[in-house]
Symmetry: C2
Subunit: 137 residues, 2 copies
């Protein structure tokens, strides 16, 4: 509905999003920009990440360890999520077949707008840390 005007803060937020592959939370983006924009407020980061998601310029990745995470790469792809530290890695997509979607959407009457495919487990670093912890105990 509302017209979107350009703003320096939003440009900067999008720039940060596009220059990282860490699938950031709002607070992470905020921390990156505090130095450059000392009066930036966390609320503004939230508002802009939400607006950019609504415009489909970025994507919501989901809530990980209590925080919504975002991704500037809107191409279809899957994620690996570490169950311990929440690190997210990009993976090639493993989509359901057209036939799968077709038959289920007919059966249940829903419309499919997208899919999310994640692997869950332990990242390389956390595997090491857990091994260390077991050694100690």
């Amino acid at each position: 509905m509302a017209i979107v005007r350009r703003s320096k803060k939003r440009d900067a937020i999008l720039r940060v999003m596009r220059h990282t592959k860490c699938h950031p939370s709002a607070d992470w983006v905020y921390q990156q920009l505090r130095e450059e924009y000392p009066n930036l407020s966390l609320g503004t980061v939230y508002r802009n990440l939400n607006q950019l998601s609504d415009q489909q310029i970025i994507r919501r990745v989901g809530v990980i360890n209590g925080q919504e995470r975002f991704d500037a790469d809107t191409r279809p792809h899957a994620h690996f999520v570490c169950n311990r530290c929440g690190t997210v890695l990009d993976l090639p997509d493993f989509p359901p077949s057209r036939q799968y979607i077709q038959s289920l959407s007919t059966q249940y009457g829903f419309t499919v707008e997208g899919h999310e495919s994640n692997l869950r487990g332990l990242c390389q670093d956390c595997k090491k840390i857990i091994t260390l912890e077991e050694t100690v105990s």
Copy 2:
């Protein structure tokens, strides 16, 4: 670690979980049990859902519209999630291939413990409501 004792409240919570297919939030479970256990507290529901998840007796489905949702069906399966109302439907699994997991876990050094596969879109009811809204405007 800690010994687990049986409790009536936890039994009831698990019973509710097993008798619904709505993939409930903590509050939904709480509301179902308020009449039967007028002194039940929401904190107890949270503690028990967390404990049951840790024991892998139930599963976390993820955060939908701000609330963690749970599922008593621990068999591998996919979900459809309505982007508007948050309804969750069970679907047959569409897992990544063994080869996909094998090659990526080798490449990145992570260990895969599971996968999540969701379709996202609009459920049958929400499709109708949106059509109505468009008619009005």
